[in-house]
């Protein structure tokens, strides 16, 4: 299922003194089965844009096509549930959405809202809790007795248990420790590769964008200013700086190396492993 945004504009509190244009003239496509990263400075409209991907917001102008359905500005939409079932969103700080007495019930909430039987939902809860790296005995506990990081995992399991076709992640690792971050991103990426889930990832980490994305969309002041595969994007350091963004550490390192040796590498390396390989191959010539 592709999601296509066309000239999407969104104004908060439209036609009031608080009116605030958060997103303007944004057009791009989120192809099925790919990982699309959205990066940009705080306040550039990333989160607002995400809310359009499962019709939680309707554009104030433009259209959003989600699979077969088209959400268009100014038109009343009915029965949005099928959209929300197919496109799951993990919000920023999702631990704030937990509310049930037990972890089990909380994870079952989403699936059961979409008509999954209780029995099946419970099975899914046990399965997805394990997938997010939590022990099974947590199922009977109150989510409010868990640590912040564990609550985050449970909340994510609650979205995954809906088994959406498209998984939208809004800074899913913000506030986690480095190891937790790594584990969580690897988990999402594994799901993406094994199950072909389409990923949309909003992130502040250039490393994550470089490592996982097939395509990176850059937002700046509510507009889409660039859209490119990570290798192309991160080869232009100066341009990224204009939008207040950096490059992954490994790219910085490569640039320093190039300066020191006076030799340009054939391509930008996006991960440490890639750089190591390239150095191994061209070791003699450097």
């Amino acid at each position: 299922m592709d999601i296509v945004l066309e000239q999407v504009e969104y104004r908060y509190a439209a036609n009031s003194p608080f009116e605030k244009k958060a997103v303007e003239d944004v057009t791009f496509k989120i192809p099925e089965g790919q990982c699309t990263a959205i990066i940009g400075h705080t306040g550039s409209g990333k989160s607002t844009l995400l809310l359009h991907l499962n019709a939680l917001l309707k554009p104030t102008s433009g259209t959003v096509q989600i699979g077969e359905r088209t959400v268009k500005a100014g038109r009343k939409e009915k029965d949005l549930k099928p959209i929300r079932e197919k496109v799951g969103i993990v919000f920023q700080f999702p631990e704030q959405q937990l509310f049930e007495e037990t972890v089990m019930k909380d994870i079952c909430y989403g699936p059961m809202n979409f008509g999954v039987s209780e029995q099946e939902a419970k099975k899914r809860a046990a399965f997805w809790l394990k997938e997010v790296g939590m022990p099974e005995e947590v199922l009977g506990k109150s989510p409010f007795d868990l640590s912040g990081g564990q609550m985050r995992r449970v909340a994510i399991a609650g979205v995954l248990a809906m088994e959406p076709e498209v998984l939208v992640l809004d800074e899913p690792t913000a506030g986690l420790d480095p190891r937790g971050r790594r584990e969580m991103m690897e988990m999402f990426y594994r799901l993406h590769q094994e199950r072909g889930i389409t990923l949309v990832l909003v992130t502040h980490s250039m490393e994550d964008a470089a490592r996982y994305a097939d395509k990176v969309v850059v937002m700046h002041k509510g507009r889409k200013v660039h859209e490119a595969p990570p290798r192309e994007l991160f080869s232009d350091t100066a341009r990224l700086a204009e939008w207040g963004l950096g490059v992954p550490e490994v790219v910085k390192f490569q640039r320093m190396l190039e300066e020191k040796t006076g030799k340009a590498f054939p391509k930008v390396c996006l991960t440490m492993d890639e750089l190591a390989d390239m150095l191994k191959q061209g070791g003699e010539s450097l």
């Binding site: 509190a13 809310l51 969103i89 919000f91 704030q96 959405q97 049930e100 989403g110 409010f144």
Partner: protein, 267 residues
């Protein structure tokens, strides 16, 4: 709807009302609340409405904006109107629907009470729209200061109020956020049978309360570690200045009271 609601918000601007001393504004609004009860006939309410209109003009806000922002409150007012209409039983029957009768007095009461309610809501909103929560608190504390002599916790009260006011927008934003998060998980608050809709409130209220308590605790800790210990011996960073316009504003209220009393008792 949430983001359009203006009750309790502050709108920065530069108008006479914005520049007034918060003490004057507080006295003004409280006195207005008392004075409006003098009105008990059509002319009284016309004058009070005109007075409110002038006050709106002084705040530099547009009437249309106020009306659209106070829509949720208006629903409440409409409800009171209907309640009055059907339950006051004096005077002649004007309309007989069989199961329910509308009396003359009912219409009268319904109009007056909803009018009074509307004007009060407008005036109190003007106060919060033109005054930052912090200056409302400063003003209130300053006005209540004399009561400290009889051990009235003026400072604490003002502080509690300012914290409550400060967190209204935060809570609204949070409500919006959690509502969206639960909607993404298939909760449906806007359609389906009433029973289901009420059920859908639980996943919204619980996180909201949990967060509010957590935030209150964090705030208390933050205040304690910074050595907060109440108003005793505290000097003020923001000073209040009473100007001629503040006196004039209060004088205009005296005029209003006089005019309303004149209509009620002599004309």
């Amino acid at each position: 709807m949430m983001e359009k609601m203006i009750f309790g918000r502050y709108i920065p601007a530069d108008s006479i009302a914005h520049r007034m001393d918060p003490r004057a504004k507080l006295i003004f609004v409280f006195a207005f609340i008392a004075i409006i009860f003098i009105a008990n006939d059509v002319w009284g309410y016309v004058i009070a409405a005109a007075f409110t209109y002038i006050s709106v003009k002084m705040s530099g806000l547009s009437l249309r904006f106020l009306i659209s922002g106070l829509k949720p409150v208006m629903i409440l007012i409409a409800f009171t109107f209907l309640l009055q209409l059907f339950f006051a039983r004096e005077g002649n029957v004007v309309l007989d629907l069989g199961f329910i009768q509308v009396y003359e007095e009912g219409i009268r009461q319904a109009f007056f009470i909803s009018m009074r309610f509307t004007l009060l809501v407008f005036m109190t909103s003007l106060l919060t729209l033109t005054t930052t929560p912090i200056s409302i608190t400063d003003g209130l504390e300053s006005l209540l200061n004399p009561l400290k002599k009889i051990k009235f916790p003026a400072h604490e009260l003002a502080l509690m109020m300012s914290i409550a006011l400060r967190f209204i927008p935060t809570l609204m934003d949070e409500t919006d956020k959690i509502m969206k998060a639960q909607m993404a998980r298939g909760s449906d608050m806007s359609s389906g049978p009433l029973k289901d809709r009420i059920k859908a409130i639980v996943p919204l209220m619980i996180p909201l309360f949990v967060n509010a308590f957590k935030r209150a605790e964090d705030l208390a800790t933050a205040m304690e570690v910074r050595g907060y210990r109440g108003g005793e011996g505290r000097t003020k960073y923001r000073l209040l200045f009473w100007k001629a316009r503040d006196t004039f504003a209060l004088l205009s209220l005296v005029l209003l009271a006089g005019a309303l009393a004149a209509f009620r008792f002599w004309i």
